[in-house]
Amino acid sequence: MTMPLPLPRTSPRRLGSLLPAGSVLPRPGSLLAVAAPLLFLLLALALPLAAVLSQAVRDRAGHFVGLDNLRDYLGNPALSAALGNSLALSALSAVLCVALAFLYAYGLTRTRMRGRGLFALVAQMPLLAPSLLPGIALVYLFGNQGWLKGMLGGHSIYGPIGIVLGELFWTFPHAVMILTAALSLADARLYEAARALKAGPWRRFLTVTLPSVRGGLVSAFVAVFALVVTDFGVPKVIGGQTPLLATDIYRQVIGQQNFQRGAVIALLLLLPALLAFLADRLMARRPAASLGGKAVALVPAPNRWVDGFFLLFCGALAFCLLLIPATALFASFARLWPYDLTPVLTHYRFELMDGGGWTAYGNSLRLAALTALFGTALIFPAAWLVVKGRAPMALRQGLHGLALLPLAVPGLVLGLGYVFFLADPANPLRPLSGTLTLLVVCTIAHYYSVPHLSAMTALRRLDPELEEAGRALKVPPAVTLGRVTLPLALPVVLDMASYLFLAALTTVSAVVFLYDPDSMLAALAVLAMDDAGDTAPAAAMAMLIFGTGALVRLLWALVTRSLLRRAGRWRDGR
């Protein structure tokens, strides 16, 4: 269950020093090659975004009105409350999530508690489901008929409590991944030195541990904040009367077809995401407390009390995490929650429900497979062109910059951008509207950055002389890429594909504006069924996605292992 980090820390500015200087004159081949991914990102990312920006400053008739739309929006207290709510709840969720995830990750990396592998696996599990799942499960758990309603002390789950709980579940894996990575970079010598200087456990924690993970903490906070502020799955289901930016944009665009207002909210949504992105990049540029070449890996010593405490803590948290899908699973089989809990399969008969049912599920599988296939086939070679290509530096850096852009672009904004971009009658790509092809393109663009950064990191770790050796032997770069570089990077390539597969399976935000009845998706069907009040079938579909994701991850792990075994006799010698 290794997934690439949501925000691998690679500064764009550092790119320069890693590219071979004084490159050979660009050859037509390398120019053409780099043009392909550039063109893709321009069409699938830059132009739709530009379309959102230009719509935000126009009225419904298309006349330029400057910032009037924005003033209009901020002047309406009912609407602008959404901005405050979004920022406050995102910050609250991020603080809570990072605090819990830090302790959890600390237990995984710095203690000898039992079952660390299992706990690590459980922490990844929320990635398998669309963000609608925690909302639905929370209704069953804490709703008016919920098992645990009493725990809320009379407060309603519909609103801030539900939103924060749901987002905690959904963003937890991201925070744990970042913090696990940060915490596992520990230099035992620093701890020995602190000990020799008679620093107690608290002082060691404050002076050694905390400074070394400060970057990770900020990065996790920023990542969670950005995820929450742009997520609309959780608040859609359980947000009750709490207006948020993400649900507002959806209501304006879908409910009232007010695209200009949607574009304005998109701008407001883009802003915190962009700030978060910039903050993280700034942090990444600062020299992180990284491990020097001589660092000694820290092996935590067993400690009955510490290990016991963390076992208790992680166990309780893992139980809470598992409770969400378990509840949804149970509810999806109950004939009529909460009155008749006889297990039946009726809620899995989606054909009489909104949302396209099994067809939507089939579409989702196709979308996921195509996104994984074409996404990987596009992103890995493009990353290779950035790292190893010989096109002019400016082109390669432009490609790299565009590839990082999706990190700062919420899916809803991107989706709305496609609507505007394709609404132009002069756009030759217009026939793509509503097709699965468009959804594939949009999903690849939406999730481009993480696999791109994984590929970059993997490629940079390879000896640049390998490629030069290939050239010196007069073998075309593509052959060396296929025979040497690709096999070396195979685990990363497979990880990229699996990331894209799961992302496409669970995404709702960008595609919610783009599907048509023939390209309905399973995650959108969850949304539609929940909207229609068919909560149990919605839970059933969400669990179907969850199960599919889990199955795919399992198959992926097996395939990866056997592929590596077959391709990797050369690894044994190491």
Partner: protein
């Protein structure tokens, strides 16, 4: 072994294989390399020697076509190849890291550059190369399963397999243990002679350069300091840098008297005052040329082809066959702080006439043969 190294190019045998004219490399405002001229004969082994940052690797990459120079021209076999990229040059390269393809077997690595050959010929060539490096039994192994020395040989075989006119070696031995390095050095020299392939090697190891090369080009700060045979460089270094970089060297910083004569501390030196050596000349002599004899001396003295200086033993180190002696200069008339800071070393046979009597404090005359003395312009740092 003519099967391995085929016929050379069409150019006549005595024509130079490689000619560099004014080659320079700038990265933005930084000049990595400037005004390099070099002519390499066919079959010659030339080493580019210099400290790190001297531009030697930059020069090799320019010659390889990996990073074409921003100035000057490179001609190979009579053709201008300055801007020709590596894949269209007639070169084989052994990289510093070897850059063996870890995913491919030894055999596949060696035949990697032979895609154009028909299969049977490729096979023949592979076997010839495997025999050449003596790794026939390892053809099916992956690089990760080989020792460092074996990997180095595979890298060499892979570079030689396509029968290039020019072999480029980038610090080929630097990653190896001292013992393996010595063995491979000999083997490399043998192979190069046997194949008669023009070879350019980059190294920062002067011993490697001296033992392997027909000629050495010494680079410093992106400029050529000297080009010459190993003995030229050792015996007649052209600059203070070369003198210091290759072998051990005694250096005596001198000053100019107002009349232009040379002074060592307060002593005037009875030597010809070469004006080219500038205002702060440095007098250099290899330790092995510094002689010792008993006797006191009041001041420097030139007689029977030697410059004699008064001095005494500071320390001595027993090294078996030889004794390394550290000597100080001393003005018997009155202490001179400028002299007190200077030390010289010499190697004396342990069983020679002075032999074991070289205890610290012993007063001696230091004898510097005039024909071995070198006078350079100081670099100011001394």
């Amino acid at each position: 072994m003519n099967a391995v190294r085929g016929e050379g190019g069409e150019a006549p045998q005595d024509a130079p294989h490689l000619v560099l004219r004014g080659v320079g490399q700038r990265f933005g405002t930084f000049t990595a390399l400037e005004g390099v001229d070099l002519t390499v004969r066919r079959g010659e082994f030339v080493t580019l020697l210099g400290p790190s940052g001297s531009g030697k690797t930059t020069l090799l990459r320019a010659i390889a076509g990996l990073a074409p120079p921003t100035e000057g021209s490179i001609r190979q076999d009579g053709a201008d190849v300055t801007a020709v990229p590596v894949e269209r040059r007639d070169v084989g390269i052994v990289f510093q890291s070897y850059a063996l393809f870890p995913t491919l077997t030894v055999a596949d690595n060696i035949t990697y550059g032979l895609r154009a050959l028909p299969r049977p010929e490729r096979r023949t060539r592979l076997e010839a190369m495997l025999d050449l490096i003596g790794l026939r039994a390892h053809a099916g192994k992956y690089p990760g399963q080989l020792s460092g020395g074996q990997q180095q040989r595979v890298a060499l075989a892979r570079a030689l397999a396509p029968n290039p006119g020019l072999l480029l070696l980038d610090e080929p031995l630097s990653a190896l243990d001292a013992e393996v390095r010595r063995d491979l050095r000999a083997e490399l020299r043998r192979l190069q002679r046997q194949l008669g392939i023009t070879t350019l090697m980059v190294t920062h190891d002067q011993e490697e350069a001296l033992t392997l090369s027909d000629r050495i080009m010494v680079l410093n700060h992106g400029r050529v300091e000297q080009v010459g045979s190993p003995s030229d460089l050792y015996e007649r270094p052209a600059s203070l840098f070369v003198a210091g970089f290759i072998g051990a060297m005694n250096r005596l910083p001198l000053a100019r008297a107002p009349d232009g004569g040379l002074r060592l501390g307060r002593w005037p030196l009875p030597l010809p005052a070469d004006p080219a050596a500038g205002p702060a000349p440095v007098l250099c002599l290899r330790p092995e040329w510094l002689g010792l004899e008993d006797g006191d001396l009041a001041a420097p003295l030139v007689a029977d082809g030697h410059l004699s200086l008064p001095g005494r033993v500071l320390d001595s180190e027993y090294r078996g066959a030889q004794i390394m002696v550290q000597l100080g200069l001393e003005d018997p008339a009155r202490p001179d702080p400028a002299l007190a800071a200077l030390t010289l070393t010499t190697l004396q046979p342990a069983w020679g006439p002075l032999g074991r009597g070289l205890e610290p404090g012993r007063r001696l005359r230091l004898r510097l043969p005039l024909d071995r003395l070198r006078l350079f312009a100081g670099d100011g740092a001394q």
